[in-house]
């Protein structure tokens, strides 16, 4: 099976499936609002000039996340 890693380790151009959200509270809600739940497909699009945050394609929208938030999203690479 594909191994589980975190969203921040995804390289530009790679896609993955969300397995689990480790974040809690408001960040968890916010991620869910933009459609990031178990089973959601995510593509890593673009790093910002300083490498953080990173932009992801989530359900047709481009959303930038900071490292400490994306590291709480467990994924399995496609």
């Amino acid at each position: 099976m594909n191994e589980i890693s975190t969203l921040n380790s995804l390289k530009v151009g790679q896609t993955a499936t969300v397995k689990k959200l480790r974040s809690t509270g408001s960040m968890r809600r916010r991620l869910q609002d933009i459609g990031l739940i178990e089973g959601t497909q995510v593509e890593c699009l673009q790093k910002s000039p300083s490498g953080d945050p990173i932009a992801y394609l989530i359900r047709g929208a481009v959303i930038a996340l900071r490292q400490e938030d994306s590291s709480n999203v467990m994924i399995s690479a496609n």
Binding site: I34, G35, G60
Partner: protein, 716 residues
Amino acid sequence: MVGLAANPTGIKWIDSGLTINRENPDDRVIALAGNPNVGKSTVFNALTGMNQHTGNWPGKTVTNAQGKCSYDGVNYIMVDIPGTYSLMAHSAEEEVARDFICFGSPDAVIVVCDATCLERNMNLVLQTIEITDHVVVCVNLMDEAKKKHIHIDFGSLQKDLGVPVIGVTARSGKKLGKLMETVGSLKTENFIRPIQLKYTAPIEEAISIVEPAVKACLGEKLNSRWAALKLIDNDESLLRSMSDYLGFNPALEEPVASKIAQARQRLEENGISGEALRDQIVSCLIITAEGICADAVTFESDSYNARDRKIDRILTSKWSGFPIMILLLMLIFYITITGANYPSALLSDALFRFQDILLAFFSRIGAPSWVSGMLVMGIYRVLAWVVSVMLPPMAIFFPLFTLLEDLGYLPRIAFNLDKYFKKAHTCGKQALTMCMGFGCNACGVSGCRIIDSPRERLIATITNCFVPCNGRFPTLVAIISMFFVGTVSAPFQSFFSTCLLTGTIILGIFMTFIVSKLLSVTILKGIPSSFTLELPPYRRPQIGKVIVRSICDRTLFVLGRAVVVAAPAGLIIWLLANIHVGGASLLLHCSNFLDPFANLLGLDGVILLAFILGFPANEIVVPIIIMAYMSTGSILELGSLEELKNLLLSNGWTWLTAVCTMLFSLMHWPCSTTCLTIHKETQSWKWTAVSFAVPTAAGMVICFLFAGTVRLLGLL
């Protein structure tokens, strides 16, 4: 006030309150909801004929705005509620939006969606349908979808959602008539049977336990199924709003309270509690949305957003991201500086010629000299100055910046700079409020609502004034042109001015970071909160419309302020300069009093006094300085910057005075409008005082250090 454009006339802000001014009882109230950045304000403007500014970045509408429109003999009051992804009230905006839909009793809710990103928008549509049956879904940006070869099956959408769905292109007004027709027929149509969301079996069971009691308690005031679920979920924000608007808390009423307890116990027996319940609710919504869109949306091309990605790779890449940002800023300044010269000269020529006519007129009718002095030398002259020197740069800078904004570039600035804001322990969205500050600091302060964390919002509010607003911008340009570019040969002057101005702005941004960081480690301690930032698709701005509209807006705005603020200020300064006490004018007394302190800052008493008197509006600082110098020295006819420079030089200005005046202009107290806005936003005089003190202290310290160093080293 929203966005760069300061409050255009005619829009009545109702803030988070729900007061609607119905002219007669038949007027229908329509709420416009939608995700951020789906062109909701464009729909609003197209329908109401108003010009609420729209920008291509999330979070433009921070308060409810209302406007009127009529269709088919019925009058509608359209209410533009804040753009949100959800109505679960995780932020102030979501709370405002939800409260209006729940308690503002709109006759219908139009949910505006982005055709290019329908699935993400569907979450809000479903949540709105849960609250009210009277929903019309408006799929906007059909033109963009067409360009991206995205096909939407409206029949399927309408069938799945059970509410009318209309595709429109708001910016060309396409199909908006049909939208209003549908809204109009909403009450008479019987076919509407909105989708009822199916939750998991345990949640459905819990709802069925509580719903009858809620229905008995609330009657028709709220959708009982939805309210029951929220009560089980213990949605604290909704409970607060229920207490506010209904006058009681249903969760405390019997038998609702015991039913809720019973439902929660059943859920717990099924292993669903707290976070798990919310997770399941959200998942049900998202999976339903996914299913609906899978039926209705076809992407005919895989690379539908390839162009956006290509542009992003250039504008936000490691190598070109920052250089392009600075170059764009410089380009805007360059166009502003070069473009402002000509109209500025023209206006000042005309206005000062008219001054002579006025003076001649007053002497012909034999008016006493104090009358003509007060009216012409006082009021008229300051007005003329504000109009000729301040207006042209504002009227040019504004539309240019608006174009960048409409294009969708501002969120990319936030994306590029976020790392540095994170280092300062604040939110990357502060970059957006900073950009709004370029237009008007009061707007920037209002815009801080897009930042969710209260601590980060306060930091953004306090530091907003480090970005020079449109009213201070011409002051900087004028000083730079007078004192620092004379040494360079003509063709390069504008370029050199641009570089200096860009440097000044970058200093302001740098100060924003430093002060934000200082605040984060002292009075506003905390770690950066989590953040999500949407990078919306690039859109071609409506260039002609933006230019015409923002030049008109700006001109009207500046002229309006000139009359309200500059004219009385001109009068006061004239009185100060002409009322003599103990052999010297009041003005001289004041400036002499301030002189020793001002000298420490590299300024003089008159300059400091001008900044103090300029509290109502930064535009009048330079005119006040000129007035003050002219009343104490010889009267000059000021036709050009060259003569102005001579006036300043003869009053003891050196390059040090010029630099310190620029620094102080960049960093001093916010203007009165901004202070009032800060108070309104923070609801606290303490934070208003802090916002007043922080930039003032920064400016004084820096001016003092700079002047001290220069004098100590004998560089002067």
